[in-house]
């Protein structure tokens, strides 16, 4: 019998074909068909179809044993085996669905959004195809090294696409920053790999490591360091504190890229990495604690920065960072709790659940923002306002996205966010620190609701603030709003997956998940007082935004009324000084050392070399006086020289 999973290796190959064909076969062939856009859509759609089939097979238990593993040898050196392969379990299946589906929608949407880019579109479609290939390859990887390889290639695509408008200095600079800051994380990832590689006796295969975790436990400090470094990779890629600063800058890329790479898929790679490493991670509770703390800090800090930003894409970028923080908070908390109680908990499930839901509603929000930008040609919300009359569909779907992310039942964001907060609170019984994290989470939920509705009101509600902008606004073409509508449906309903066995399907086997009926789930959720607390936080946030930006009974200017408030306001806009600090480290410290090394190299090291040469010339001038021209004196020197050589040979070797 044939299984779909056996075809899984084709999934990354198909978009790769699109990359090669569109990227290298010249402009002429594709001039008529959107410079390769339609070909890219076709290939993305085929990959999506295969992915969905494979995911369906794995999730429904259609493949015997549940996990599909395929592997080939990539390179062997005595003591170390490097493999390449395919590893599909339910976690992979979930990622396959999210990545392939959103990719396809984004490429379709791009036909409308990138229409005016002319010949440059070919490069766009080639690069986005390469990204889809690498991202699918990343989730299908059968070992850590392979995952790292694709991890770097998605980073390359991110770099290329942020810098898509590379003649714009700010875009080129943002691309550089994204590459270098994530590179810091990648180095930590590599360190983690070295530790794993040696710890697990030269084999990085998931199947080998997961089957042998118990055998290698013991000297736990090194393993803790290993898992911590692995998480370091996730900090960079998923823009967590303190390596988060590249993501807001990454908004210099086209909005489609922000939606696909910097919201729905690539930045989730870090979360996926931690989830993938979970069987090892849960053995190192200290790393888990760090993950939870970093997640909590990031969630809160990024949310504060979103409060007053006037740029529609930047607000969404901060929101993404914040929501990613939630996911890490969930994963870290779940693992910590599991280590201490050995009990099943919702930590892992809720983190991955939020990953899925967030992918849908954030892609929706970004693409809606893209539709707005496409209509008004500005990203500044202060120039928008009243656009709901012109962009009816966009304003409606974006509203769905806002409600979803704010966490209002029964939209998808509510279910996962609530689960996360519940498990964090529960872990407070083990370690009171988690109560603090819980409060941070609730605050974040409040702020999230506020800044999202601030965004919506500023963009769509009230009177137009700039009539020139308003008059030129127009609803997007069908090729753009249809993907939006599909995403809106998912942002509304993906949370219901909880009632269809999401929890049992996605849990790692060590959690021994047990099935709950949908009535049980509803009962658990709605009899808990915490649930109402998080709903109230969200409603309060929305209400505040309503008062400030719709009803205008509170003037937003009160936040800049006094010098102290203005200082805080400015601090948020300056991203707490992180941007300046990064620039300082880069330009002053690193470049300063480089300058010093260069000076040392030219003056000291090369100075000594040239000094030798000068001395030699001077000595030569002196010795030259010995060149008398008398044969007798030369003969004397020859005799003396030969004698010395003979004596030396006699002393050392005794040969001849």
């Amino acid at each position: 019998m044939m299984y779909w999973s056996e075809l899984a290796w084709l999934i990354p190959i198909i978009p790769l074909i699109s990359f090669v064909v569109v990227g290298f076969l010249g402009n002429k062939a594709f001039k008529r068909i959107e410079n390769g856009g339609y070909f890219a859509i076709l290939m993305a759609a085929v990959a999506c179809f295969l992915s969905l089939m494979v995911a369906f097979e794995i999730l429904t238990g259609g493949y015997p044993g549940g996990t599909f593993i395929q592997s080939m040898n990539w390179m062997t050196v005595p003591g170390f085996t490097f493999n390449m392969g395919i590893y599909i379990d339910t976690l992979t299946a979930l990622m396959l669905i999210v990545v392939s589906f959103i990719s396809t929608l984004v490429v379709i949407y791009s036909v409308g959004y990138m229409h005016e880019e002319g010949e440059k579109k070919r490069r766009y479609y080639a690069e986005i195809s390469l990204f889809i290939c690498a991202m699918l390859g990343l989730v299908l990887s059968s070992n850590f090294l392979q995952m790292f390889i694709f991890w770097e290639i998605v980073g390359l695509c991110s770099y290329l696409l942020i810098g898509f408008w590379n003649t714009k200095p700010s875009a080129a600079s943002a691309a550089k920053k994204a590459f270098l800051v994530t590179r810091i994380g990648d180095i930590m990832f590599m360190l983690g790999l070295f530790i794993f590689f040696v710890w697990f006796q030269g084999n990085l295969d998931f199947s080998y490591i997961f089957n042998n975790v118990d055998a290698f436990l013991g000297g736990n400090d090194l393993l803790t360091l290993g898992t911590f470094f692995i998480f370091g990779g996730a900090i960079g890629k998923s823009a967590q504190f303190p390596l988060h600063d590249w993501l807001p800058d990454a908004m210099e890329g086209p909005t489609t890229v922000s939606a696909l790479i910097h919201a729905a898929t690539m930045v989730k790679a870090g979360v996926y990495l931690v989830a993938r490493t979970y069987p090892v991670m849960v053995e190192t509770p200290n790393t888990m604690l760090i993950i939870a703390i970093i997640g909590g800090i990031t969630a809160l800090m990024a949310a504060t920065m979103a409060l007053n930003n006037p740029n529609i894409k930047r607000v969404l970028a901060y929101s993404t960072i914040s929501q990613l923080g939630y996911m890490f908070l969930a994963l870290g908390t779940g693992g910590y709790l599991f280590f201490h109680t050995q009990e099943t908990n919702a930590g892992f499930m809720s983190g991955m659940f939020h990953l899925m839901n967030h992918a849908f509603f954030k892609a929706l929000l970004f693409l809606s923002a893209g539709a707005v930008i496409h209509a008004v040609h500005t990203e500044d919300m202060r120039l928008m306002g009243g656009l709901s009359k012109k962009l009816k569909i966009t304003s409606l779907v974006m509203l769905i996205g806002c409600i979803s992310i704010a966490g209002i039942p029964p939209l998808s964001g509510f279910w996962s966010k609530d689960e996360i907060l519940a498990v964090v609170f529960e872990t407070g019984a083990e370690n009171p620190l988690f109560y603090v994290l819980y409060i941070m989470g609730i605050l974040t939920a409040f702020m999230t609701a506020f800044y999202m509705f601030r965004l919506w009101y500023m963009t769509f509600a009230g009177e137009p603030r700039d009539h020139h902008v308003y008059d030129h606004a127009h609803e997007s073409p069908k090729v753009m709003w249809v993907p939006l509508a599909i995403l809106a449906a998912l942002a509304f309903g993906s949370g219901f997956a909880l009632f269809f066995g999401f929890s049992e399907a996605i849990q790692p086997t060590m959690f021994h998940p047990h099935a709950e009926t949908w009535t049980q789930i509803l009962e658990i959720v709605f009899t808990d007082v915490l649930t109402y607390l998080s709903i109230i936080a969200a409603v309060l946030g929305i209400f505040l935004a309503y008062l400030m930006y719709r009803k205008r009974s509170i003037n937003p200017d009160v936040f800049v009324a006094t010098p102290a408030r203005r200082k805080i306001y400015g601090l948020l806009l300056a991203r707490y000084g992180f941007t300046a600090a990064y620039d300082w480290i880069g330009l002053k410290v690193v470049y300063g050392v480089a300058k010093a090394v260069d000076w040392f190299d030219r003056k000291v090291i090369d100075g000594i070399v040239n000094g030798f040469a000068i001395v030699t010339i001077k000595v030569g001038n002196i010795v030259r006086r010995g060149q008398t021209g008398f044969v007798q004196s030369y003969a004397a020197l020859v005799v003396a020289g030969v004698s010395i050589i003979v004596i030396l040979l006699f002393l050392f070797g005794g040969v001849i």
Binding site: G163, R183, D186, L191, V198, V609, V655
Partner: protein, 498 residues
């Protein structure tokens, strides 16, 4: 197929004949070009035939193959002894390939074309000789043969201060060679009595070198090692390299960085480690420190450069440091990865220097502050530059990553978390390349130079670059093709160590 056929001698004779004929072409530039291309092409075909007939199965895979040994000066124990193992096999292939591509890339050299092409072929003879010789005397002759054509390439076809650079290159590396020569003679005079007959044979000498007195071993080792690390070159003996590169013509730089530097690291593996395992183990930490110092120092120096070519030159120092670090681990993985890195660096650095040469040629300058925003003007050149830079900074999927990752894994395996020091350079490497790209091909179009008439790559530039990039991707995606050749030869090198 070639059991009794002196294929390695043929490999040396073909470019030698080619060199003579090309010189003879005199003023006929076109004839010289084609002659050089044909002869270097035949050399490449022979090298490819050798690698295809190279046996990987044990025990053949662990021995020197295509062995040729004739007495030359029997009284002094000098023999004409050639042979290749997996390590030299790769270097032979790399040499033949790079010389062929460099000749093609130099298609538009108009000044004294026949001499230029003839010198390149002569260089080919020397380098191939170094990588195939198994006799110290022969090895040294080839080693010196390499020096001369490179000196003339820089001195005649070089940049404005070519006189200073070429003389510095010649004297510096020649002094190092003399130390090496002293080491070789001392080794010869001490090993011969132990063998009972005079011999310059590398393998025979290695079989008795352990019996030489410790102090003397140490002195010989130091002399040889000094000769090799100057060639690599390692900090602090590296300052001849940036000057030589900045002044050298593009093809000269390609061969200098692609092949000549490899002679140094090849010497350390083939001679220092193989002949003196005990001393190597004693000096292990020192060797590692020199490697790490070169990696980090080179990377910092790169960041400060404003000349693209000088930056690439310093990056060679940094990347050859990775080779030395790999050797210093004295593990199978580290040693194999070091050889892999030599091969990878040869391919990548050729792309980098060709890119720099094209900037000089087309934009009239390599100064980064004068460039800017050129990507839309020269898309092919910019793409090539980006691929080259990405390969050099160790992007997975390209050949450099495999080597770097393996070396660092071996470093962790042996030196534990000290690996943090060299691996931090990975970020620096990314920084100088990405920053250089941002300033030279991205951003707004420069107004400091004339960009009106700037021309993208010509066919004779595109073809060699395409070949190199194809190989960089191929061996990056499927490194077994290279690793399987290297691995069987490593245990012999490390026999005395373990």
């Amino acid at each position: 197929m070639f059991e009794n056929f002196p294929i390695l001698s043929l490999l040396l004779i073909v470019p030698l004949i080619g060199s003579m004929m090309t010189f003879a072409a005199g003023k006929h530039a076109k004839a010289a070009r084609y002659l050089a291309l044909v002869f270097s092409g035949i050399t490449l075909v022979i090298a490819t035939l050798i690698i295809m007939n190279f046996s990987l199965s044990a025990p053949l895979g662990t021995e020197f193959q295509f062995d040729e040994a004739y007495d030359w000066v029997p009284m002094l124990g000098i023999s004409y002894h050639l042979g290749v193992d997996g390590i030299s096999m790769l270097m032979v292939f790399l040499s033949a390939l790079l010389v062929f591509l460099a000749i093609l890339f130099s298609w538009d050299v108009e000044e004294r074309t026949s001499s230029y092409m003839g010198l390149m072929l002569l260089l080919d003879v020397g380098v191939l000789g170094v990588f195939t010789a198994l006799d110290y005397f022969l090895f040294y002759i080839f080693w010196e043969v390499v020096l001369i054509p490179m000196y003339f390439l820089i001195a005649i076809w070089g940049g404005p201060s070519r006189a200073y650079a070429s003389i510095k290159f010649f004297i510096y590396t020649h002094v190092a060679s003399l130390f090496m020569l002293l080491g070789i003679f001392a080794l010869y005079f001490t090993a011969s009595p132990l063998l009972g007959a005079p011999s310059f044979d590398m393998i025979e000498i290695a079989s008795v070198s352990g019996d030489i007195g410790h102090a003397l071993q140490l002195i010989i080792y130091a002399a040889l090692f000094f000769g090799f690390i100057v060639k690599m070159p390692m900090v602090p003996f590296h300052t001849w390299l940036p000057d030589a590169h900045v002044q050298a013509p593009t093809a000269g730089s390609v061969l200098l960085a692609g092949l000549l530097l490899k002679m140094g690291s090849y010497g350390i593996i083939r001679i220092c480690v193989f002949t003196f395992p005990d001393i190597t183990v004693e000096a292990q930490v020192l060797i590692a420190i020199i490697g790490v110092l070169s990696i980090v120092y080179g990377a910092f120096a790169c960041l400060a450069q404003t000349d693209l070519k000088k930056m690439v030159a310093y990056s060679s120092i940094s990347h050859m440091g990775i080779v030395l670090l790999g050797i210093a681990t004295l593990t199978d993985l580290g040693m194999a990865a070091a050889v892999f890195q030599m091969f990878a660096h040869g391919l990548i650095t050729a792309v980098l220097f060709m890119t720099c040469g094209m900037f000089q040629h087309k934009a009239g300058t390599r100064e980064i502050p004068l460039l800017g925003g050129l990507a839309p003007k020269v898309p092919v050149l910019s793409t090539v530059m980006m691929i080259g830079f990405m390969a050099s900074l160790g992007l997975p999927g390209l050949v450099g990553f495999v080597a770097e990752f393996s070396v660092f894994t071996a470093t962790y395996d042996f030196f534990d978390l000290w690996v943090i020091v060299p691996i931090a350079s990975v970020a620096l490497t990314a920084a100088y390349y990405i920053w250089a790209m941002q300033r030279s091909i991205f951003g707004s179009l420069t107004t400091k130079i004339d960009t009106e008439h700037i021309h993208d790559a010509y066919w004779f530039e595109t073809v060699p670059l395409a070949v190199l990039i194809g190989l960089i991707a191929l061996f990056g995606i499927y490194p077994r093709l290279v690793m399987d050749i290297i691995v069987p030869s490593i245990p012999r090198i490390l026999t005395g160590v373990i």
